[in-house]
Structures are given as structure tokens and as C-alpha cells.
């Protein structure tokens, strides 16, 4: 009688084993390759998930014969997974869209330094980690978008100026839960110190046109809807809207002007997407090859333009749209400071009541 029950359990075990087995087979292949030191794979944990990325990985495989295995996820969760997997991790390269996360990966001792002349040539020093733990691949600026009808560009000057009385009830920006805002505030902590940074955050909250909601694109739409007059946004979202499939979004974007703040003072806030080789990587050479490939001129063009970002490789011209916005002065701070002050910035946001 009991045999029914055991049948069920045995069946369950069988199914589980079958699934496990499937994965095992694949892995065994890759592992035998590692042993003979001719691994033909590289395992990538990435928080960037554009369709064009897959095309680049395919192209990389075509050129080098190295297959790129990908897990796409949210940066923080991926980091936590690498941390938990420890020495046994399968990850070789960690790619994310924010310098703060790269800093945290480094701080948590998850990355290893790599030296490559090609990388040094392709990625300018200020977009590399000081210890060569990670390399920037694309960059973007966090800028001010304004309503062409109600705001003249000469009324705008700096991020700090947005806290003035004049802008009361006119400023739009997303929630402080978002890492772009955390990094922005972290940069002010680095440049002006904690006190002034907190003052700025409090002044912004005071001038909010509404409680923060939605993503960056929604701030632009709120200008068009007349809820506010200026919005802080990443450059690539503006680019996406100008090229949207939805004619209404294009119309909204066309009514907006882009302004790079703090040109006469500390420079516009920039951030990077970048990647670092995982400390416990078992395919280090391949991981470096992939980094070199992604920062090389051929890939840089696609990699950056896919998302209307600026390439880090100085030999590559940004897309026409980005060129039309003109050149600008960037904040002159080590990008790792964005990560160093991340926790502090969250505490400040909470204290000043920035939702």
C-alpha cells in the first residue's frame, strides 16, 4: 500500500535529478575546458539588459570562439548572489550601470585587479578604478530638462540654484529610492561636504512640484502636463524619448530643452556603466578579453548608442544626437566616491523627507 507514496516521492526525486542533470551536463563541458586551460566560455552577471548587448556577445563569440553565458538581473541582487557563492561562484565578470555598485563590489572584496595595456588605452584613467578593479564602459550625465515655453535657459545655472525661492513648486525629480539620485547626492557630499549636501536635499524637497513618483521619463511628461517646469533626468532617457515609437512621447521630448548644470562651477554629474572581473573567476583571461572587446571602438559605438549614452573610449565619437547637445564639463571626482557616500546619502534623504 505504501508503495504508492514511495512511487510519488521517487518520481519527485527523479524529476529533480533530471533537472539537476541537465545543468550538470552543461557545466561539465565548461569545466573540462577550464582544466585544460583553454576555456571557451565566460560567465557574465549583468544588470544591463539591452537587446543590443546580446548581439555584441554573439559577435564576441564569433570573433574569439568564446561563448558568453549571461545571467541578467538587478545589480544589488546579483552582487548578493556573488557574495553568497563565494569562492565557488561561476561568475567571471560583473557588469552594472552605476559606479556606486562597482564600488560596493570592490569594497565587499568581490573583484580582482586586472592589468591590460589595451584596456588602459581604451578606457581613460578617470573612468577606471584606482586599483584597476573595474573599468567604465559607457557614461551619461544627470542634467536639467526645462520647459521651452516657460523657462529660458539663462535662468538656469546650477543644481544648487534649483533650491532657490524662484523654483518653489516647479521642480520635478524621482524618488530617492533610485540609485541615480543617491549617486547625485553622494557626489555633492564629496564636493561640498555633508552639511551643504543635506541643505541642498532639503531645499529640493521644499521646491518639489509634487511628491516624487515614477521614473525619469515620467518627470519629463510631468513638465509637458504642466505640473512642473524643470526636471532632473539622465541624458539617455531624453534620448530614448526623442526616438520613441510613441509619437506622443516624441512630442513631449521636443517641447523640452536640455541644460548641463554647474558648467562654471563644479561640473555636471556623470556616472558610468562598467564592469569588473570577479575575484573568484575561473575564466579570468576570457573575462579580460570581453572587457577589451566592449571598450574597443567597434563595440563602443553600438554599446553606447544603443542607449543614447556617451562612449568612454575617446577615439569614438558620440552619436549625432549627443553631439548636438554639445560638449560639457564633468564633475572632477573619483567615481568610487559615489559608492563611498551611498549609505550616507540615503540617510540624508530619509532625514529631509525626500520620498
Amino acid at each position: 500500500m505504501k508503495k504508492y507514496l514511495f512511487l510519488v516521492i521517487a518520481l519527485t526525486a527523479l524529476i529533480l535529478a533530471a533537472c539537476g542533470g541537465q545543468a550538470k551536463e552543461e557545466k561539465t563541458e565548461s569545466e573540462t575546458a577550464t582544466e585544460t586551460n583553454e576555456s571557451k566560455e565566460v560567465n557574465l552577471y549583468t544588470a544591463r539588459h539591452y537587446d543590443v548587448d546580446d548581439e555584441l556577445y554573439a559577435k564576441f563569440e564569433e570573433e574569439t570562439g568564446i561563448k558568453v553565458n549571461v545571467i541578467k538581473g538587478e545589480a544589488d541582487e546579483l552582487l548578493e548572489r556573488i557574495k553568497r557563492e563565494g569562492d565557488a561562484t561561476e561568475a567571471d565578470l560583473f557588469l552594472t550601470a552605476d559606479a556606486g555598485r562597482l564600488y560596493r563590489a570592490k569594497a565587499d572584496d568581490l573583484l580582482q585587479p586586472v592589468s591590460s595595456d589595451l584596456l588602459d588605452e581604451q578606457v581613460p584613467a578617470n573612468f577606471q578604478d584606482t586599483d584597476q578593479m573595474w573599468y567604465g564602459l559607457t557614461k551619461r550625465a544627470r542634467v536639467i530638462l526645462y520647459d521651452k515655453e516657460t523657462v529660458q535657459p539663462d535662468e538656469l545655472s546650477t543644481y544648487e540654484a534649483l533650491t532657490e525661492e524662484k523654483w518653489n513648486g516647479r521642480v520635478l525629480i524621482r524618488s530617492s529610492e533610485n540609485v541615480y539620485n543617491q549617486s547625485l547626492l553622494a557626489s555633492f557630499i564629496e564636493i561640498d561636504g555633508e552639511e551643504q549636501a543635506k541643505e541642498w536635499a532639503a531645499g529640493m524637497v521644499n521646491n518639489f512640484a509634487r511628491d516624487p513618483e515614477g521614473g525619469d521619463r515620467d518627470q519629463a511628461k510631468a513638465i509637458a502636463a504642466g505640473i512642473g517646469d524643470v526636471a532632473i533626468m539622465n541624458t539617455y532617457y531624453f534620448g530614448q524619448m526623442l526616438n520613441s515609437e510613441d509619437p506622443e512621447e516624441v512630442k513631449v521630448a521636443e517641447g523640452l530643452g536640455i541644460f548641463f548644470p554647474n558648467q562654471d562651477t563644479t561640473g555636471t554629474h556623470v556616472n558610468v556603466s562598467g564592469a569588473g572581473v570577479v575575484k573568484a573567476s575561473k575564466n579570468k583571461d576570457n573575462a579580460i578579453k570581453l572587457l577589451e572587446f566592449l571598450s574597443a571602438p567597434e563595440a563602443q559605438e553600438t554599446f553606447a548608442s544603443a542607449n543614447y549614452e556617451y562612449p568612454v573610449n575617446e577615439n569614438v565619437e558620440p552619436s549625432e544626437l549627443l553631439q548636438s547637445w554639445g560638449e560639457f564639463k564633468e564633475q572632477d571626482i573619483p567615481l568610487s566616491t559615489l559608492g563611498e557616500h551611498n549609505a550616507k546619502s540615503i540617510l540624508i534623504f530619509n532625514e529631509v523627507g525626500w520620498k
Binding site: M1, I15, K27, R84, E85, G86, E90, E177, P212, K221
Partner: protein, 543 residues
């Protein structure tokens, strides 16, 4: 505790193993409750925690209230009255369950935003410039609307089955006693459906408590926000776990209240005696109102968002690579089907164990397994990864012996993901199965045993066939939930493994909701098919 049955060993052993495995990862979280508090914790407590908790409470209470209001009123209309299109509405009203709430949230915002179809049409075709603030859905009431629309079928489906099968004589006697329909509803229908309402509403509450997609996008800060802020923002996993543990404590409280309200009474019936409720035909404006009400809800919760998604799919057709979509469908259906099967098998074993044992401990044990449903997916993910890495370390000697040269075998396989799904969604399957067991009661089992069949044989010959409905409904619910699931799938999947929901999320998280529409529609389509299949099956069973 005395052993009243001595040959339940096989069942007891498997049930205890399952409960233990499901509970193990949660243990990491429970222990977090007792770690001393640090600076970050104090900061959270001082500045944000109370506000977040208030939001969470309002959000869950309001969502529960409105899902009950809509779910129960529709269930009652369908169960008691006959009106045009009743037959269609009866199953169509379950369809909103096929739309992942985060997709619903993005879609509604897309429609209502300044560039959305509603404001654009008003502006361009009618020249009306209405204050855009009126269309702002991205706030707490907006989130309640989203949850209500996409979760009310939990209450509706359970209450509808309950009302149409169980209460004929009760409702009839109220009518004979001269109570009008409204009085009947409030004085009889509402109290007697308490059990089914609680069952449905507790699923809603748990779903709302652990959701992150909707509230994050709408800028509503909740308890879950606090968990993620301390974990990722402050890099303080202890505080995060402490918060998750408090959330779990709250959920245990809800579960206990549910159990108390359900009481000690056995709500079983012997189905030989149940008489279906004869429908009262409605006519004239009453019939129109009933049909109209059903269609308004169906439109808001299904037709309108789906139409918008179809529109976006047409708009973006050809701009995103479609080649791999068959693969995503295959992956999605495979993991959802496998997880749902395992959950139902496990739930049957644990459920049968639960009704065999006596004593409080025995009754409490199975409840522990539903905790996974209360914890945000990302937290479960970490707990599961930790547990599996431990398991792999333990198995390393075996791997070496078997000739694998890697030490992470299970942790990078699909077993990891499926296990996480089982922990996360066991509650859904178990709820259905437990209700099934409750409904058939113990008389049939006892009868079978006095006729000479043992526990196991009785299970296959009596319990299983009588619970076919519960088994299938549990399977479908879990299947749909896995299909929609996002944080676990994202973090725990093996290399190069994409599903429809990861694909939809990938676009949506980059604020490309239009590009996300294809994958979303496929999720909705597959779920809807499953619902229709379930419904047709139930119909045939009832005839």
C-alpha cells in the same frame, strides 16, 4: 503526544521532511529577529519606519476591503441571479488574475499619463485640457486600485464556488422569512461566506505585503521599501533581515487570526446532500445593471489593459527581436508546470498529514510552510542561495567522486529556482488542497478504512478523486503565479535562461513599457488559457 495511528509513518516522515525543507531557508530570517540593533536600524526607526508601516497597513487594509467588496458582490450576483451574459462573466471574471500587477501598474500609468491615450484623445479630439493631476494614478490610492483590480479574483473565485454550492437552504430560508436581497446579503451571505472571504482576502493581503514592483514604480513607500533600503542602500543585511522577520511575525499573526476565525468547527459537507441554488432570473433594468456591473469590472481589470498592450505591441512590432520568444514560452511553461506539480504533490502529502495528526503542534507545523508567501521574493532568494551553497558544500565529496570538477552543481541549476518557487508559492497550493480536505471532511476516509483500505490506498481511491477540483484549481493558481513571478526568476535562474516574465520585466524596468507588451501579452494569454481550461473542466465535473 500519543500516537493514535501507528502506520502513518511513510506519510509522517515525508510530510515532516517537506515541512522542514520548506521552512529551513526561513530559519535564517527568523534568527535575524534576535540580532542586536545597530545604527542603521535606529536611524530607520527614527525617520522612516513608522511612515512606511502606516502606508503598508493602509495599503493592505484598503486592498483587502475593496477586493472583498468587488469579489464578494460579483460572486453573489453570479451565484444567485440569472442575467444576460452571466455564463460568460462567471469564468471571465477570473481572467484579471492572469495580468501581473506590475504590468497592470505600468499599463495603467501608460494610459493615464500625459502622453497616454486618454489625455491625448481629450486634448486633441475634444480640445479639453483637463488638469493632469486628475489622471495621476501614481500614489497610494492608485496602488490600491491596481491591487484591487488584479487581485479581486482571489476572493471572487473562492466565494463564488462556496456560495453556489453550499448555501442553498440558508439563503432560501432567509428569503422565505421575508428578507429582501440587500438584507439577505448583509445578514446572511456575508457572515456565512466568512471562511471563503478570509481565505481569498488573506491571499490578497500576503500578495500586497510582499509586492515591490507596483509600489516602487508608484512611489509609495512601504515596509518592503524599508527592507530593500537597508539591504541594498545601506548594505546592512542584518537590519533588512530584522525587518523581514518583523514582517513575517505580522503575517503569522494574520494567519493565526484566520485560523481562529475559522474556528474549530468542521466546515465539511457530504456532497450527496448538497443541492444547487436555483437561480433567480433578473429582468429589465436590474438585469442590465447586473450585466453592466460585471462588464465594468471586467473591462477595468482585463479588457482595457489588454487592449492597450495589444495597441503597444502593434506599435512596436518589428523593433524588438522576436526570434527567441518560442524559447521563452517553453521555459516559462516548463518551470511553471514543474513547480506547480511539485507543490501540489507536496501539499497533498502535508495536508493529509495535517488531518491525521492530533494535537496543537501537529496542526501548527503545516502552517509554517506558508510563511514563504509573506516574504519579499528577493529575501527568499538570498535565503535559498545560502541554503543551496551549504548543500553543495556538503555534497562536494560526492561531486568529486562523480567526476564533476565544479563544486556548485545544484546552486547553478534550475533546481535552485524551482525550490525557491516551491517555498514562495507553497501557500497558494496548500490553501487549495487544505480547503479540499476540509470540504470532504473525515467521514469518507473513515468509511473507506472500515471497509478495509489503509491510509495510502484510501488516499488514492477516495481522497484524490473527490478532491479533483481542489487539485486542479491549486495547480492552475500556482502555475499562473509562477508564470508572473519576477524577483526570484531574475536572480536565481541558470545561465542563459530567460522566461516571459524576465523579458517583460527587462523592458519595463528600463521604462520601456511598450516594448514589454509582447512578453506581457504572452504571459496573459497562457494564463488565460489555463483559466479557461480549468473552468471547462470544473463545468464538466459539476454536470
Amino acid at each position: 503526544m500519543q500516537h493514535r495511528f501507528t502506520n502513518i509513518n511513510a506519510w509522517t516522515v515525508s510530510a515532516v521532511i517537506i515541512i522542514f525543507l520548506l521552512f529551513l531557508p526561513n530559519l535564517t530570517i527568523v534568527t535575524g529577529l534576535f540580532t542586536p540593533s545597530n545604527e542603521n536600524w535606529e536611524h530607520m526607526k527614527e525617520f522612516v519606519l513608522w511612515g512606511f508601516m502606516k502606508n503598508s497597513l493602509i495599503l493592505t487594509a484598503a486592498s483587502a476591503f475593496f477586493t472583498i467588496l468587488i469579489g464578494l458582490s460579483l460572486a453573489w450576483l453570479i451565484a444567485q441571479y440569472d442575467f444576460p451574459m452571466r455564463h460568460f462573466l462567471k469564468w471571465a471574471l477570473i481572467l484579471p488574475l492572469s495580468i501581473p500587477p506590475f504590468i497592470g501598474a505600468y499599463t495603467y500609468h501608460g494610459m493615464l499619463s500625459y502622453t497616454g491615450v486618454i489625455q491625448t484623445t481629450l486634448r486633441e479630439n475634444f480640445g479639453m485640457a483637463i488638469n493632469p493631476a486628475y489622471f495621476d494614478i501614481m500614489n497610494l490610492p492608485g496602488a490600491v486600485f491596481i491591487y484591487t483590480m488584479f487581485l479581486f479574483p482571489y476572493v471572487y473565485s473562492i466565494a463564488q464556488v462556496y456560495l453556489s454550492r453550499q448555501s442553498a437552504s440558508l439563503i432560501e430560508s432567509t428569503r422565505i422569512l421575508g428578507k429582501g436581497p440587500w438584507k439577505t446579503f448583509f445578514q446572511v451571505v456575508l457572515p456565512i461566506s466568512r471562511i471563503s472571504i478570509i481565505a481569498g482576502a488573506s491571499l490578497v493581503v500576503l500578495e500586497v505585503l510582499n509586492d515591490y514592483g507596483v509600489v516602487k514604480y508608484y512611489g509609495v513607500q512601504t515596509f518592503t521599501t524599508a527592507i530593500f533600503q537597508s539591504w541594498f542602500g545601506l548594505g546592512d543585511i542584518e537590519s533588512a533581515i530584522k525587518l523581514a522577520a518583523s514582517l513575517m511575525g505580522f503575517v503569522i499573526l494574520i494567519l493565526m487570526i484566520e485560523k481562529i476565525l475559522r474556528g474549530r468547527r468542521q466546515y465539511s459537507y457530504s456532497s450527496t446532500k448538497v443541492r444547487p441554488l436555483p437561480l433567480i432570473p433578473l429582468s429589465g433594468w436590474k438585469a442590465a445593471a447586473a450585466t453592466g456591473y460585471g462588464f465594468v469590472i471586467l473591462s477595468l481589470a482585463f479588457v482595457i489593459p489588454v487592449a492597450q498592450l495589444i495597441d503597444w505591441t502593434v506599435l512596436t512590432y518589428g523593433t524588438i527581436p522576436m526570434g527567441e520568444f518560442m524559447n521563452y514560452v517553453k521555459n516559462s511553461v516548463f518551470v511553471a508546470g514543474l513547480s506547480a506539480t511539485l507543490i501540489i504533490v507536496f501539499a497533498l502529502i502535508v495536508g493529509n498529514f495535517a488531518r491525521m495528526v492530533r494535537g496543537r503542534l501537529g496542526k501548527l507545523l503545516p502552517r509554517l510552510t506558508v510563511l514563504g508567501y509573506s516574504i519579499p521574493g528577493a529575501v527568499i532568494a538570498v535565503a535559498v542561495v545560502t541554503a543551496f551553497i551549504g548543500l553543495d558544500r556538503f555534497l562536494t565529496p560526492f561531486y568529486v567522486w562523480a567526476g564533476f570538477s565544479t563544486t556548485l552543481v545544484l546552486s547553478v541549476s534550475i533546481v535552485l529556482l524551482v525550490t525557491a518557487y516551491i517555498i514562495r508559492f507553497f501557500a497558494i497550493g496548500y490553501n487549495s488542497i487544505e480547503t479540499g480536505y476540509d470540504k470532504i471532511g473525515t467521514d469518507f476516509r473513515d468509511a473507506s478504512r472500515t471497509l478495509g483500505l489503509g491510509v495510502t490506498k484510501t488516499f488514492f481511491k477516495v481522497d484524490m478523486p473527490m478532491m479533483k477540483g481542489a487539485i486542479i484549481s491549486g495547480f492552475i493558481l500556482v502555475f499562473i503565479d509562477v508564470l508572473k513571478e519576477i524577483p526570484l526568476t531574475l536572480i536565481l535562474r541558470p545561465f542563459n535562461f530567460d522566461t516571459l516574465s524576465t523579458k517583460a520585466f527587462q523592458y519595463a524596468s528600463d521604462e520601456k513599457i511598450m516594448e514589454a507588451s509582447q512578453a506581457s501579452l504572452l504571459i496573459i494569454g497562457i494564463s488565460a488559457l489555463a483559466i479557461v481550461f480549468f473552468y471547462k473542466f470544473l463545468e464538466r465535473e459539476l454536470d
